[in-house]
Assembly symmetry: C2
Amino acid sequence: VDHPPADLIVREQEPLNLEMPFSSLDGFITPNESFYVRCHFPIPEISTSDWRLRIEGEVEAPFEVNYEEIRAMESRTISATLECAGNNRIFLEPKAKGVQWELGAVGNASWIGAPLAALLERAKPKSGAVEVILDGADEGQVDKTPTPSGKISFCRSLPLSKARKDVLLAYEMNGEKLSASHGFPLRAIVPGWYAMASVKWLRRIIVTNKPFNGFYQSLDYAYWDRSGVLPTLVPLAELQTKAEIARPKNGEIVAADAVYRVYGAAWSGTGEITRVEVSFDSGQSWHEAKLLGESVKNAWRLWEYEWRTPAAGRCTISARATDSRGFAQPADRSSDRGTYMINHLLPVEIEVR
Amino acid sequence: VDHPPADLIVREQEPLNLEMPFSSLDGFITPNESFYVRCHFPIPEISTSDWRLRIEGEVEAPFEVNYEEIRAMESRTISATLECAGNNRIFLEPKAKGVQWELGAVGNASWIGAPLAALLERAKPKSGAVEVILDGADEGQVDKTPTPSGKISFCRSLPLSKARKDVLLAYEMNGEKLSASHGFPLRAIVPGWYAMASVKWLRRIIVTNKPFNGFYQSLDYAYWDRSGVLPTLVPLAELQTKAEIARPKNGEIVAADAVYRVYGAAWSGTGEITRVEVSFDSGQSWHEAKLLGESVKNAWRLWEYEWRTPAAGRCTISARATDSRGFAQPADRSSDRGTYMINHLLPVEIEVR
């Protein structure tokens, strides 16, 4: 079977939301032209001659840098898997509002940029600093109640400790200059977190002395945390452990009594994927898949399973992942997660013929 | 004109939501049978023999008390005006969801109870304690997204400093034992704050070492604070400065060329009402009203204006209040406040005949 380079599926034109057909998965790196695109507002048109990044707020030494200055800083290259927090939403029952992502609002790229830690070190956060807000240039009106008056920008905060640890301010994606749809001239890459944290079209880094509770981490992109005495609404953060099956895809017809290479990817938050299992009998028995390549921090792990197909008939294939912390995928789903963090098992129905 | 004791207006039967017809305002104290009732869930049936209040969380010495023990503590008596954060919602344009309160989701009573500070002192909050959650026994399902799974209780947090300052745990209202609809056996009174903070049917006091973000202070009863660099969602708290006209009421017919006593109440958060003005020409000219009685901390101030009525015709009457901090009423309304904190000017249309 041939798997030609994917065209992206248009989920929305305005704002632009494009999905990779996940069955076209073809390697560790997702090519830029196949990488999903998630926008909340029209894509800002930014010229590098006007653009500045300002570091401000609770810092001793606020400053701004231009595009050349960011590129002249000591750079770092990291692999990171980005997954939209609403990936797999189309499978929710009952049907949920929001972009109807199937399996392909996820991708893995190599990013080059400047560590956020270096900029923070220069700005010198004051002793009471607790968070860092990443503010994007994309803006528009939103419609939940209470409705912020006027336009708001897409922005998101991180604990200062995370901002200092491994957040990258990226200007290159897979060896190419960032494209407009991926955040040109500069975007954040927040390793191990759902991609709403990796703010695009960055224009400001604001250090704060109290937790920020912006629209995109309260009325949107938040969930009910039940680890305390009473449920509390917290911003979505770490990626949940998940395996997705790229091939066979739903509805595929597979040859009977043959060998078929079941193939997919698995990822987790700060954990490392240690096991992927596959089931061909609706989860009654499980078979260990082979993890491919080496484990790369914050990137997905590809996997395969050489399946000796049965005689003709219908077949339900499931995959499940476990990570180094023992985090596995749940069988069921809680409304505490709203329409996000969807990592319960998603079986693929195929026909063996 | 006679103003007989009011019957309450039924806004909702289940849960029970009752409003005072504000034109029946008749004195500093709102009688218990005229006091508005705001419920989110069915009223819990609580027997004092089973009931306990537990003080727990980030404290050195958690404990529980029963009804007799609370009543045996040194008591305090305070006046406090309670106003529902959605009072006046019926006047919003466009029409807003929620209970359609007119002018009467407000009342002023004398409360007897034990200071929360005394219970906290006994429990000894740990050094990192920052907030106190008041948890009620009323519970049910809510329907915003993300939807908390299962039932949730009505609960609300306060900064530890406010909890220690002047919060009362009340068991008597205007000299009578609290009624079931007002929170029997014990409710909080949080002076100067919108009444959603004055949690009824108290069962737990939970001290926390980080800010709580429960349903009733995030997805509900919150607003956009724009005092910082970017809008942040914060829990509703302090009462906004407001004057309401009790008489004449909307549509009333008033005798021409006579003296009419315009009458109402005004209140604020921690400020003191220093001025109420009345206009009879849609806000072109203003006349200072007379403040009645003495100023009582955290309670409303009644006011009157002896109006020499004009010749026959239509007339628009407005009132506006100013407090000791200079806080006045806005002419317009911002969507940042959602369907709460409604204190823009609300003119009364009458006919002089």
